[in-house]
């Protein structure tokens, strides 16, 4: 037999029903991003960081010393896996199924996120391109600023439903809409 390999997004049940046009404040769930954990081994920290920064088609997200998430929304897991295997001193693990990527954007985004994270997200402190692990809606998440009013939140898959519901709740007063990005 051959298995019918149907991929199912964990938030499928949370984003069912009638979909309106996105409001200015919008939460988009990226359906199939590629996300790898990348770890640099002793002595290779700087070189791995440089290689990740230089790589095209992936955005490195800072997790901790010598640890990143390599995120790509443009190429597949094989490409990213191949790219990472060519970086000396780096170990990596595909987490594309273990992580959920959401993009929250809009004029009220900082007001909404102030209810979700304790970190100061003012652009003087957390500038475009910055990223870090932090508690978001009580769950350890990676938060990145990808635009003036745009943030990407990566959470563990098993917690994604809770975080998604909480984000929507916090966005209620700002008329936050939601949907898959495709």
């Amino acid at each position: 037999m051959s298995i019918n390999l149907l991929q199912r997004h964990v938030l499928e049940d949370h984003i069912s029903g009638f979909e309106t046009d996105p409001n200015p404040n919008h939460l988009a769930v990226v359906r199939r991003p590629v996300i790898f954990s990348v770890l640099a081994h002793a002595g290779h920290e700087a070189a791995v960081a440089e290689a990740l920064k230089a790589a095209s088609d992936l955005a490195p997200r800072f997790c901790g010393p010598s640890e990143w998430l390599a995120v790509s929304q443009t190429v597949g897991a094989e490409t990213i896996g191949g790219l990472l295997s060519n970086i000396p001193g780096a170990s990596f693990a595909d987490q594309s199924d273990g992580k959920v990527l959401m993009t929250i954007s809009g004029p009220s985004v900082r007001k909404i996120l102030a209810k979700c994270v304790a970190v100061d997200l003012h652009s003087d402190v957390f500038a475009e391109g910055d990223s870090a692990n932090m508690l978001c809606c009580h769950v350890a998440a990676n938060v990145a600023r990808t635009g003036a009013d745009t943030f990407e939140i990566i959470v563990p898959r098993s917690f994604a439903g809770s975080v998604f519901d909480e984000l929507m709740e916090m966005g209620r007063e700002h008329a936050l809409t939601r949907g898959f990005s495709d």
Partner: protein
């Protein structure tokens, strides 16, 4: 009903009428009113009954320190007791009711307490309701609770939303009066990130009730222009209706914003209150000063209030607090109030000045009684006169309101919340803010300045100093001129002698001067003891008005300075904060995050009942049509796994990817058994100890490639094991090249168990998984039919031939569906954690029911896993201690009920046969138990003293809690397939 609203003036919007009710009567007020100002405008001076004596009470203040005018606002589930009428913002449809009275506010039966008051002094309860002891709970407490008290809470669930938010700033300014506004302006213009928070619904603080002019315009207008400028600055956040209630570690301030407390029907999309945690680099406390009441006979009656309150009602709300107002003062504030009243056409019958002389300008046509005092007030529901005394002569002066001024106390509460005590100033006759370093400064009247011009200047100066500290360019604020200021200085007067009625110190708790004296006489002399004995300074207002007077009076009684008496301890919250705000969204379905397995949907489709396991929802069993109890389902699942094949979701097990050349060495040091020689492609069961030699967790670790391992942990210990590895690698052996990352969420993991599992699995996996090619404990990456990369492990918890298959989580449901389809002809079933538990129990495998923090490896029969030849591993050294190796330790055994239908319960104690059921005869306990469908009777795992020597012995299983005694036979913990024949099929 007389209207006390003046024809013009005040900052209320006379174009916007608001209807509200008080005790069922309808009244009208204006937008911009507080409930108190609207009631006063409607001649409703009587607003409350006091806590203990049920004395009639009105308002004492026009702000958040109000001790007396406590009302219940709202109805149904939104009924909120003990709201201070002085800070409740009026809205159309507001429903207010008086409290602590029966049958009505005017005719309150509880007034009898006032007549009994000679017997109800401080300490009355302690002395009277001592014995007999059983009476306390059954009789005294219910009685006291009924007689004394405040409002009643709503018993329904709160229908409103609350939330929490963080904020960050360079400078937090607390209070938007003259000092706060100038501080915010200086910082805002300098470009700093500023938050200006004020508890009022309109920013401006005392300027809103002030008759002086600032910058050539009325003070309130000046405040308006500053606020307009601040509102236009993108770096400034204005937060009206926000009380900063606490100062915490690391310059974090707690604040509560009343977002929708001023509307009749709150929007469901908005929180009604928002709790803020404000992280400020610097902060300014510009919370102003509180005017002190004078302590004289009858000072609590409706109509007696502070001079500043009378002035605020007049200037801010356009309400005269009476038609004939008398003033009793020891300083300039009383004169200013009289002058403002006269200027607005209100009759001022007399100013009684406690001082022999003063330079305060006398309002024209107003009589001044110098060196005078008030010894009593007349009237019940509103005063109609007072008895003044001078040089031994008494005189009745008619009045329907009395404005009193006893001087000023800076509001320094927040700065004292982290242990520092306020400092007494002889010059200011007040407690001032302590020196608590350079990050948080008091400014304006909170810092002891008493003139508006000084407060404006101080606010700007303090802000500039703090900003320079943060590296902002110095900014010179232009300080506006103030015209028409008065001199607010005063002469201290703690207590007015000759009182002909009770002279109250703490209005809210009905504590009068006599109570303080009693406390001193009875030895409760320390101010903290005085507080607890008399209750002065307790309850919702925490002594904002009374505490300083209490300290002054006690100092007078003892003949010392108030500096020696000091203050009681200041703690958050500054004013009461609702439980709703503190809980925020953390209630109902948002109480805790929920974790769902990638196979959650598969389990649901197959009829799973779910059980909470930590944050996880796990499938417990899968009901089929006709099954009447969970046991039926579980028994069927177990038998089917033993006979055919079953599929179980084990995705919740912790999974940790381990990389690096030092990985093998690290594993060898954290596991008690050897891991250095684990070959690639193999899994090994491992046991971890704590450093004290006790078992920590178990699991398997597989070597996927030379320097890449994957570890599985129990569901419960996933987080702890990862932390343990990180701790070991980072602090013990930082020289080892090893890195970890959790991959728990990446994999949907399923256990396929049963004699037919290979047949089913080979229909799913492309690779050869025959026993030769994929023997017991094989662990490899495989490819599924259809092309998906997966991980396959031949490990077993059930004792059957079994595989664990891990596939990327998103494909979990599809693969599980495919396995169910592939196994249909083999009779496959889904099984849950209940069946899994029965299977492992029958096989004698331990879980955290046995590895419960007291057991050693040997205790649970895993002594062979202690590789003592290794030079070191965590727990090795202390595992050799005498106590952990003693022969009479509790050891893991099996139990089977002698009578097949008898149930053994986990938690029951084990006794020798014929022994008297008593803990003195305790021999051990049952750790896990179940009905074994494979054997047809109840079985259990138990920890029994020297248990391994006692197989065959009959013992008594005694469950004292549930009252059962069952005879059981001690046996090997392995009930099924002791020779492991089924594992190697």
């Amino acid at each position: 009903m007389t209207s006390y609203r003046l024809a013009a003036g005040g900052a209320v919007n006379r174009g916007q009428l608001l209807n509200f009710t008080f005790d069922g009567r309808t009244f009208r007020g204006f937008e911009g009113d507080t409930l108190a100002s609207a009631l006063l405008a409607n001649d409703q001076m009587l607003m409350a009954r006091s806590f203990k004596y049920h004395r009639p009470r009105g308002v004492v203040t026009a702000g958040s320190a109000e001790p007396s005018a406590l009302l219940t606002v709202g109805n149904g589930a939104r009924r909120e007791p003990n709201a201070r009428a002085t800070v409740v913002e009026l809205y159309n449809g507001l429903v207010a009711a008086s409290q602590n009275r029966w049958p009505s506010l005017k005719h309150d039966f509880g007034t009898i307490n006032n007549l009994l008051s000679p017997f109800l002094g401080a300490g009355f309860y302690y002395k009277t309701f001592m014995w007999p002891a059983p009476f306390w709970e059954r009789l005294y407490e219910p009685l006291i609770r009924r007689a004394a008290g405040l409002g009643k809470v709503a018993m329904q669930a709160d229908p409103d939303r609350y939330e929490k938010s963080w904020a960050h700033c360079d400078l937090l300014v607390i209070g938007a009066g003259p000092a706060g506004l100038m501080a915010a302006l200086a910082a805002g213009r300098a470009g700093a990130r500023v938050i200006l928070a004020d508890e009022g619904f309109r920013l401006g603080g005392s300027l809103l009730g002030e008759s002086a002019s600032v910058g050539g315009m009325p003070a309130a207008d000046f405040a308006g222009t500053v606020i307009e400028e601040l509102a236009a600055l993108p770096n400034v956040t204005l937060m009206p209706r926000t009380t900063v209630f606490g100062w915490y570690d690391d310059m974090v301030f707690g604040a509560v914003e009343r977002v929708q407390k001023h509307v009749a029907s709150p929007s469901p999309d908005l929180a009604v209150e928002r709790l803020w945690r404000i992280v400020a680099k610097r902060a300014i406390l510009a919370s102003g000063a509180e005017e002190r009441p004078l302590v004289f006979g009858g000072n609590d009656k409706p109509g007696v209030m502070t001079a500043a309150a009378a002035r605020t009602y007049l200037n801010r709300y356009g309400v005269a607090v009476g038609s004939r107002v008398a003033v009793f003062t020891n300083g300039g504030s009383g004169y200013r109030t009289a002058a403002d009243l006269v200027a607005r056409g209100v009759d001022v019958t007399a100013i009684i000045d406690a001082r022999p002389q003063s330079a305060d300008p006398m309002p024209e046509g107003v009589r001044v009684v110098r060196n005078g005092s008030v010894v009593a007030t007349k009237g019940r529901h509103r005063i109609d006169g007072l008895i003044a005394e001078r040089s031994g002569f008494e005189e009745v002066i008619a009045c329907d309101a009395l404005a009193m001024s006893g001087g000023w106390s800076p509001v320094v509460h927040l700065m004292c919340q982290r242990g520092a005590k306020p400092v007494w100033s002889d010059e200011k006759q007040a407690f001032l803010a302590p020196d608590i370093g350079k990050a948080f400064l008091a400014a304006g009247s909170a810092a002891g300045f008493d003139r508006i011009s000084d407060c404006l200047k101080d606010g700007a100066n303090k802000a500039s100093a703090l900003l320079r500290d943060l590296g902002f360019a110095a900014y010179e604020a232009d300080i506006p001129d103030v015209e028409g200021e008065y001199d607010p200085s005063f002469a201290p007067l703690w207590y007015v002698p000759g009182a002909k009625d009770k002279a109250f110190v703490d209005f809210q708790n009905d504590v009068h001067v006599g109570d303080l004296g009693l406390a001193q006489r009875e030895g409760f002399r320390h101010i903290e003891h005085t507080k607890r004995y008399t209750t002065a300074g307790m309850a919702t207002d925490q002594g904002k008005l009374g505490n300083v007077n209490a300290a002054g009076i006690v100092a007078g009684m003892r003949g010392v300075s108030p500096a020696e008496i000091g203050t009681t301890t200041f703690r958050p919250f500054y004013t009461p904060v609702s439980f709703g705000a503190l809980a925020g969204t953390v209630r109902a379905e948002h109480a805790a995050p929920v974790r769902t397995s990638p196979l959650h949907n598969w389990a649901r489709k197959n009829g799973a009942a779910f059980v909470e396991s930590g944050l996880w929802y796990r499938s417990a069993w899968f009901s089929r049509e006709g099954e009447k109890s969970w046991r039926e389902s579980v028994d069927r699942e177990v038998l089917n796994v033993r006979a055919n094949v079953g599929l179980c979701d084990v995705s919740t097990l912790g999974k940790i990817e381990i990389f690096g050349r030092g990985a093998a060495e690290l594993l060898d040091r954290v596991y008690s058994n050897s891991f250095l020689k684990l070959p690639v492609g193999k899994a090994r069961y491992g046991l971890m100890l704590r450093e004290d030699g006790i078992v920590f967790d178990d699991g398997t670790t597989s070597r996927l490639s030379e320097n890449h391992y994957v570890m599985t942990t129990t569901t419960a210990y996933a987080a702890e094991v990862l932390a343990h590895l990180e701790f070991s690698a980072q602090t013990f052996w930082p020289e080892l090249d090893v890195r970890f990352v959790s991959s728990t969420d990446q994999w949907a993991q399923m256990s396929l168990a049963g004699p037919k599992s290979r047949t089913v699995m080979s229909r799913i996996v492309q690779d050869d998984i025959s026993d030769d090619a994929f023997p017991f404990l094989a662990a490899r990456e495989v490819v599924l039919r259809g092309g998906l990369q997966a991980r396959l492990f031949r490990i077993s918890f059930s004792g059957e031939l079994a595989y664990e298959l891990a596939v990327p989580a998103g494909y979990g449901e599809a693969v599980a569906d495919a396995i169910m389809e592939a196994g249909r002809d083999e009779g496959i079933c889904a099984y849950g954690v209940e069946a899994l538990n029965v299977l492992r129990l029958e096989k004698g495998h331990v879980t955290h029911s046995e590895l419960e923090g007291r057991t050693t490896a040997d205790d649970v029969g895993l002594g062979r896993m202690m590789a003592m030849q290794k030079p070191d591993f965590i727990g090795k050294r202390l595992s050799m201690r005498f106590g952990l190796t003693a022969a009479d330790r509790l050891q893991l055994v099996g139990l089977k009920a002698v009578e097949a239908d008898k149930e053994i319960k986990a938690g029951a104690h084990l006794l020798k046969d014929q022994a008297k059921p008593s803990l003195a005869n305790d021999q051990g306990f049952v750790s896990s138990a179940c009905f074994s469908p494979s054997l047809g009777h109840h079985i259990a795992l138990a920890m029994l003293k020297s248990g391994r020597e006692r197989f065959g012995e009959r013992i008594l299983v005694w469950d004292g809690l549930r009252g059962s005694e069952v005879m059981a036979e001690v046996c090997s913990p392995v009930f099924v397939d002791p020779d492991n024949l089924k594992l190697h099929l």
